[in-house]
């Protein structure tokens, strides 16, 4: 019979405010196998952990139950405590009294108390049956895959590479740089976005430890922490980049013109193009969907012009596999598709209603107007500009519930830029609340107001065209008045949403997404750059909307996590894997059929039974390096010959029984 110790945590008032922890500990003393039980304010604290270690010695405990928060938070903490106390770390079972009891049942204290006792009884019943488990060691591949070449991916790749590790950076667009490369200036310092991002782009391209694949996509990620395999598709560029010098002759004679995505459709580009002059790599690709050579079957203008013969219309996609030990996902964001839902702003019918990102291109010296603010409809300089905030953000009815975090500040920046570039211009900003939480942000907002931007608290109910003007009707809720403004241009602060295809990517890698499609971090506070899939980390806006400083900070955080992982020579494996009882296994291999990791293989054993000649027969064998411990096989096995360590049939049945008393 094991000797179980039960430690009930108050978690300050989080548990102790709802549940009577001393009473739970007292009750627990009567459970089978429990020889010691106590309660403490914070079991996870240093004195709390020491208390466990001391009790192990004093009461000769060999199984520990900690009744506190979710095991998803502190299981690893307490396993280390057990290890330090000289016990096998897997002699731990936790009862989740916080997330599953005190936090959700403050309205029913009596019933919650009984539930808490049941939960501890369950944990003690399982603890009594715990077995010592011993991890194996697996080697770590010291290479890192970064998916996405925006500022987050660039920063993560540079940090990891600077630490001396190899990095593979994959970007689906023809250039790295992401959304930041499109921006004109950055708030609140107004330093030029290109001036701070393009040197980093170049650093990536030049870094000896970084292998850059642009115009490429990750198609499959398999494997596990330390040993991932990724399949990458290099899309055909139809330009041989080993020959191309990037001279730029080719696109001068291209007969096609296509709305320019990089300029948010406000300009045009050729079918053979580089997205912008500072693109990395600074070599063109052919957009086959719009190239006459592909659509009409004849043209070849660029091929004739190219002085080095780099144009290759026959080029095919290339697919190859790489092995990496860690993955950083930095796939960035998209913008809320306002044209689909916001009828009051004209569903995108009015050319002079543009998005904030469109404004960035208009005001950018490298943009379609050379930095002059001009109306898309007639090219005139607008005198009155209306900004509408929270388009798609904080709108439960039509958009997303959340705040996109950057719109208040970029709108303030835009207002400043209008006032700076157009003398005597009038600027109005419709807002719900102004959120300026960052360093220097509130000061910047005040400065823009002082410069003359008029902030109106209220929603816009309608925008419509009247002659060459856009009439903006809205409410000023502070004054309680209706407002009508005849504007020359309207700029919508469209919210930040999950990037296109992010859900597919999440499925492919095996990481969860939250309700809005952003990737879910392992813990909102304590593990913000990790995912629940070991070895996969998050950087930037793919996790949630954030501004550039936060993105860069998170990217460096992810890089630090990657380094901490890849600097190890080998890793401990999860010992909670399947095992086969050969005596029970009849070799039907139903388990093999359900295993997603191909971890089960038939093996021939020689069975020696008393009174019978030795007999060769086939049984299932689990490869512990491949098994991830899902347990699907245990249910497929009718004989119960295959069981999952740490979640055995016996343990789970004991848990059921303990709860059904």
């Amino acid at each position: 019979m094991p000797r179980i110790g039960v430690f009930v945590c108050w978690c300050g008032s989080n548990i102790g405010g709802v549940l009577d922890c001393p009473a739970i500990a007292q009750e627990a003393a009567s459970f089978p196998g429990v020889v010691f039980s106590t309660d403490y304010k914070y079991v996870c604290s240093d004195p709390g952990q020491k208390m466990i270690a001391d009790a192990v010695i004093e009461h000769r405990l060999d199984r520990i139950v900690v009744a506190s928060c979710s095991p998803r938070l502190h299981e690893e903490t307490f396993r280390q405590t057990l290890k330090r106390a000289g016990l096998n770390p897997y002699f731990l079972e936790m009862a989740n009294l916080r997330e599953h009891c005190s936090w959700v049942h403050p309205h029913a204290q009596e019933a919650a108390q009984r539930k808490a006792i049941d939960l501890v009884r369950r944990a003690a019943a399982k603890a009594a049956l715990l077995e010592p488990l011993f991890p194996n060691r697996i080697p770590v591949n010291k290479r890192c895959l970064v998916i996405g070449g925006g500022i987050a991916g660039i920063q993560a790749a540079l940090d990891v590479a600077d630490a001396g590790l190899e990095v593979v950076l994959v970007e689906r667009e023809p250039t790295i740089g992401g959304n930041m490369a499109k921006l004109d200036k950055t708030f609140p310092t107004l330093d030029c976005s290109a001036c701070i991002s393009t040197p980093k782009m170049v650093a990536v391209a030049k870094h000896p430890k970084i292998k850059l694949y642009t115009y490429a996509e990750v198609e499959e990620v398999s494997g596990y922490i330390g040993n991932f395999k990724a399949r990458i598709r290099q899309k055909a560029r139809f330009v041989d980049h080993t020959k191309c010098t990037g001279c730029g002759t080719c696109w001068t004679r291209c007969p096609s013109s296509v709305p320019d995505e990089f300029n948010e459709g406000l300009g045009e580009r050729a079918a053979i193009y580089i997205p912008f002059p500072q693109a990395v790599p600074n070599k063109p690709v052919i957009d086959a969907a719009h190239c006459r050579q592909f659509t009409k079957g004849k043209c070849g203008a660029c091929a004739k012009l190219c002085p080095v013969g780099a144009i290759d219309y026959e080029q095919k996609d290339e697919v190859f596999e790489i092995e990496v030990g860690a993955v950083v996902v930095a796939t960035g964001y998209g913008l809320f598709p306002w044209e689909k839902v916001y009828g009051e702003y004209g569903y995108g019918r009015y050319p002079d209603v543009i998005t904030g990102m469109g404004f960035e291109r208009l005001v950018n010296a490298a943009g379609p107007t050379g930095g002059k603010i001009q109306r898309p409809s007639d090219g005139k300089e607008p005198q009155t500009v209306v900004f509408i905030q929270c388009v798609g953000s904080r709108d439960e009815a039509k958009g997303k519930d959340y705040c996109s975090r950057v719109c208040c500040m970029y709108t303030a920046k835009h207002a400043h830029q209008v006032l700076e570039k157009i003398p005597d211009a009038k600027v109005y900003v419709f807002y719900i609340d102004i959120r300026t939480f960052g360093k220097g942000y509130e000061e910047f907002y005040r400065r823009v107001q002082d410069e003359g931007a008029v902030y109106i608290r209220g929603r816009v109910s309608k925008v419509f065209q009247e002659g060459s003007k856009l009439v903006v009707k809205g409410a000023d809720t502070l004054l309680g008045e209706q407002v009508e403004i005849a504007a020359d241009m309207v700029v919508l602060a469209t919210g930040v949403v999950a990037a296109k295809g992010s859900h597919d990517l999440a499925r492919m890698i095996g990481i969860p997404v939250d309700k809005d499609g952003f990737f879910q971090e392992a813990h909102p506070k304590l593990r913000p750059v990790e995912t629940h899939t070991g070895g996969v980390f998050l950087a930037g806006t793919c996790q949630a909307p954030k501004d550039i400083p936060d993105t860069v900070a998170q990217a460096s955080g992810a890089a630090a996590k990657v380094c901490a992982l890849l600097f190890k020579d080998d890793l401990e494996t999860n010992p909670m894997v399947s095992r086969v009882n050969n005596a029970l296994c009849a070799g039907c291999l139903a388990c093999q059929g359900v295993c997603p990791y191909r971890a089960i293989q038939p093996v021939t054993i020689t069975e020696r039974l008393p009174g019978q000649p030795p007999r060769e027969r086939v049984v299932a064998q689990v490869n512990e390096g491949l098994c991830q411990g899902c347990g699907a096989c245990t249910v497929a096995c009718r004989a119960g010959a295959i069981d999952l360590k740490g979640f055995t049939n016996e343990q789970l049945l004991a848990e059921v029984d303990a709860l059904c008393l």
């Binding site: 979710s70 095991p71 998803r72 989740n96 916080r98 997330e99 599953h100 009891c101 936090w103 959700v104 049942h105 403050p106 309205h107 029913a108 009596e110 019933a111 919650a112 009984r114 539930k115 049941d118 939960l119 369950r122 999440a506 499925r507 095996g510 969860p512 997404v513 939250d514 309700k515 879910q520 909102p524 629940h532 899939t533 909670m576 359900v594 997603p596 990791y597 991830q628 411990g629 899902c630 347990g631 699907a632 245990t634 249910v635 497929a636 999952l644 979640f647 049939n649 789970l652 049945l653 848990e655 059921v656 029984d657 709860l659 059904c660 008393l661």
Partner: protein
Amino acid sequence: MSVSKSEVMEAKEKVWQPKIVAFLCNWCSYAGADLAGVSRLKYPPNVRIIRVPCSSRINPQFILRALQRGADGVLVAGCHPGDCHYVSGNYFTRRRLLLFKRLLEYVGYEPERLKVRWVSAAEGARFADTIKEMVDELAYLGPNIRMREIK
């Protein structure tokens, strides 16, 4: 005659309350239940959770055992199809439990006794709602007495 608060509570407690045993996969549904906690969503305290790595670890015998030994209802929750942490586990769960649920109903269990729901790590509210829904349904049905020896 005055009645103390604890006596009222005691009288209330004696009223039968449904007991639910829930099997939750570690990566989605257990995390979803954690999120319900973190978000302080209130739901009835009738559920007792057992953590399993994946919904495919849940042997139908666990469900039957719970129903026979004292549970009035059993909840099985896992990742949404296609989102399984272990690639395909919940597809097997779906097949197994589609069949097993029908078998239970065939021998006389009411359909409400076994509920299977996909609850992602982001769906704390869905978890809380599922429990509320189950408690309502089971309270209406009354105690589960099928296939038990009535003492």
